[in-house]
């Protein structure tokens, strides 16, 4: 940033009053310019008020974060006192069926373990699918794509980010889940059934795999657009230097671009993770919503955001609502941390880089 800061000509309070005094002292020979200037003195106050008003608007962003945090802490106090830290780990055995249970609002047994598990598994699975694709798209768009195709393709990936999650959910329920159930899941079971990760005991097609695929589609645009941004921030001279040594295009991308942009790409991936952790509607519609923990990725599960969406409006006891608020608080803290980390990483890379002329 080499721009010069303008300092607006703000008359100081002291000089202003002395000027006014002089005007008052000799009212006879007030020139038009002087009168105008003395009337303009009011604008100093107006400027100050305007400044404060804008500052207030800007500070409201801090206020919102603080407000959300306090509301969530107050709301989850009951659950914190009654359940403590065990909330995230405990489980109990049902005396009649001797099955391990986690979440039973009727008998006031609450444990967030299956939701934490579901959120983590579906998010990381989504990253596993989305990251290679997103980096591939970014590499194609910045380094390989013919100029005429670049703008429309970039627009299409951006459009993917603008589709609301409810529409992804609708599409997933009626198109993606039947597709997975009839074609993909049998393949997975046949190929990887021996690992125990894919078992054929769920005929619905819902579950972690379906949630991960729809999540991957949803977080792809943000990862690829940020990766594109950090790749474009790599100076041209780096590319030219590697090419001049006789590298092929891929070697140039690998050594000249990706290596320089890797911190920013990690930031983009973490930002995608943040999106995936908090994604609600589409996941709620396809994950199955059963608070259980299974080894199989094809079985039904639940996620933190999904359980809040499903039960919050219908929670009857205070403890139930408080437990759900505590899950919300955990989600809030985790996404704040993840986003802050990601922003710092992306910022560290793009900071000094000049915007490449389009």
């Amino acid at each position: 940033m080499s721009e010069t800061r303008i300092v607006p000509p703000q008359p100081k309070a002291g000089s202003l009053s002395s000027e006014n005094e002089r005007v008052v002292a000799s009212p006879a020979n007030v020139s038009a310019v002087r009168r105008y200037l003395s009337e303009r003195g009011n604008s100093a106050a107006a400027d100050r008020w305007f400044h404060y008003l804008m500052l207030l608007c800007a500070l409201s962003i801090f206020g919102i974060v603080a407000l959300i945090a306090t509301e969530l802490v107050i709301g989850s106090e009951l659950s914190w006192h009654r359940l403590g830290f065990h909330f995230f780990f405990s489980s109990y055995l049902d005396p009649y069926t001797s099955m391990r249970l986690f979440w039973d609002p009727v008998n006031e047994h609450f444990s967030a373990l299956p939701f934490v598990y579901g959120t983590l598994v579906s998010s990381f699975l989504a990253l596993l699918i989305a990251v290679p694709l997103a980096v591939g798209v970014a590499v194609f768009l910045t380094e390989m794509c013919p100029g005429a195709l670049r703008a429309p393709l970039a627009f299409m990936t951006e459009l993917l980010a603008a589709i609301p999650s409810i529409i992804y959910g609708l599409w997933a329920v009626f198109v993606l889940v039947p597709l997975l159930r009839d074609y993909v899941n049998p393949l997975l079971i046949r190929a990887f059934g021996w690992t125990g990760l894919f078992e054929s005991d769920n005929p619905t097609g819902l579950g972690f795999v379906a949630a991960a695929v729809i999540l991957a589609i949803m977080i792809l645009p943000i990862i690829s657009s940020l990766t594109r941004e950090v790749m474009m921030a790599v100076p041209h001279s780096q590319r030219e230097a590697v090419l001049a040594l006789g590298a092929t295009r891929w070697e140039m991308i690998r050594m000249g671009v990706l290596r320089n942009a890797r911190i920013g790409i990690v930031g983009a991936i973490i930002l995608g993770l943040g999106r995936a952790l908090g994604e609600t509607m589409a996941v709620t519609m396809v994950i199955g919503n059963t608070p259980e923990i299974h080894r199989s990725l094809l079985s039904n599960g639940a996620s933190m955001a999904a359980v809040i969406a499903n039960e919050y409006a219908e929670a009857t006891t205070d403890l139930h609502r408080s437990a759900l608020t505590e899950i919300g608080l955990a989600l809030f803290v985790v996404t704040i941390l993840v986003n802050a980390l990601a922003r710092l990483l992306v910022w560290a890379v793009t900071r000094g880089a000049p915007q490449r002329a389009h």
Binding site: M54, I61, I68, V137, V139, T157, G169, G278, T280
Partner: protein
């Protein structure tokens, strides 16, 4: 011998290069495919179930044919109006502060960072916070609050608009050439007047598109409305009562077991996506027209 080895290596390098190019193209195709699939399904399933009733009737009970989502469309409009009334002025004000007053200061940097982080907070958490703040009966000190209402949904959506509007406003203001500001100040225009009538006015196409972007994003939000606006299958335009919203209605219909309701869900989704794509294309058009790329 040595020469042979080099040529084999070169061949391998060339093959790797081609393979990677192929993989990158495949990845791009694979990413565009769901987008195309979603739009094709929306148009096929949605257009066949759109009719005039959809825009003029309220939902019919289960088992009866017909019915529409007129109340949900109006409800979404009311919710978005409340959200914009909260989000747009505060967001623009924050953006003006970041670009005009706080440039380069530590306070402005931390506000910018907080806005970016706030942007990543899941919408469901916003919903929980809005519930605790407005809907929860513990703090019903105002007559309008203390139960599910359109107002609480609007507040939740409005809060979500602030960081987006703030950041785009800032970016657009930063694009306004310094010479324009200097000209205004040189003529003796007070600073506040110069900011509002010169800088903001110059950047106004960009600021408006930023607002539309935030608007489009919030228009499709469902999660924070589930337990604030709650939804309503009848006409309601009161801010003090539960209100229907288009995304909420789509959600309810999509997870229902009735074919007739599925049909309506697809039609609603088509209407929603058409609105959003229109907004995004407008944004794209205005920002690419080059009005704002004068200098920096």
């Amino acid at each position: 011998m040595v020469k042979q080895k080099t040529s084999a290596q070169t061949r391998i390098r060339a093959v790797t290069d081609h393979a990677v190019t192929g993989l990158a193209i495949a990845a791009t195709v694979l990413v565009i495919a769901p987008l195309v699939a979603i739009f094709v399904y929306l148009i096929l399933r949605g257009a066949s179930s759109l009719n005039l009733d959809f825009f003029t009737k309220i939902p019919k009970p289960v088992g009866e044919k017909g019915g529409g989502m007129a109340n949900a469309i109006v409800g979404s409009g009311i919710l978005l109006a409340v959200a914009s009334a909260i989000g747009v002025p505060i967001g623009i004000g924050g953006g003006i502060f970041l670009a005009e007053f706080g440039r380069g200061t530590r306070l402005a940097n931390s506000i910018r960072f907080t806005a970016d982080v706030l942007n990543g907070v899941p919408s469901i958490v916003m919903g929980v916070a809005a519930y605790a703040l407005i809907v929860s009966p513990h703090i019903s000190f105002l007559p309008m609050l203390g139960h599910f209402s359109a107002l609480s949904g609007g507040v939740a959506l409005g809060i979500m608009m602030i960081p987006t509007v703030c950041r785009t406003t800032e970016e657009m203001l930063l694009m306004v050439p310094h010479a324009i500001r200097e000209a205004a100040l040189g003529l003796g225009v007070p600073n506040w007047r110069s900011v509002l009538s010169i800088t903001v006015k110059t950047a106004s196409p960009g600021i408006i598109t930023g607002c539309m972007l935030a608007f489009a994003r919030v228009a499709g939000e469902t999660a924070p409305l589930i337990f604030t606006a709650l939804g309503n299958s009848f006409w309601s335009t009161s801010l003090n009562e539960p209100i229907a919203a288009l995304p909420l209605q789509i959600y309810v219909y999509a997870i229902s077991p009735y074919d007739e309701w599925h049909r309506l869900a697809w039609a609603g989704a088509l209407v929603l996506i058409v609105l959003i794509v229109l907004a995004v294309s407008l944004v794209r058009y205005v920002t690419s027209r080059g009005v704002l790329k004068g200098a920096s």
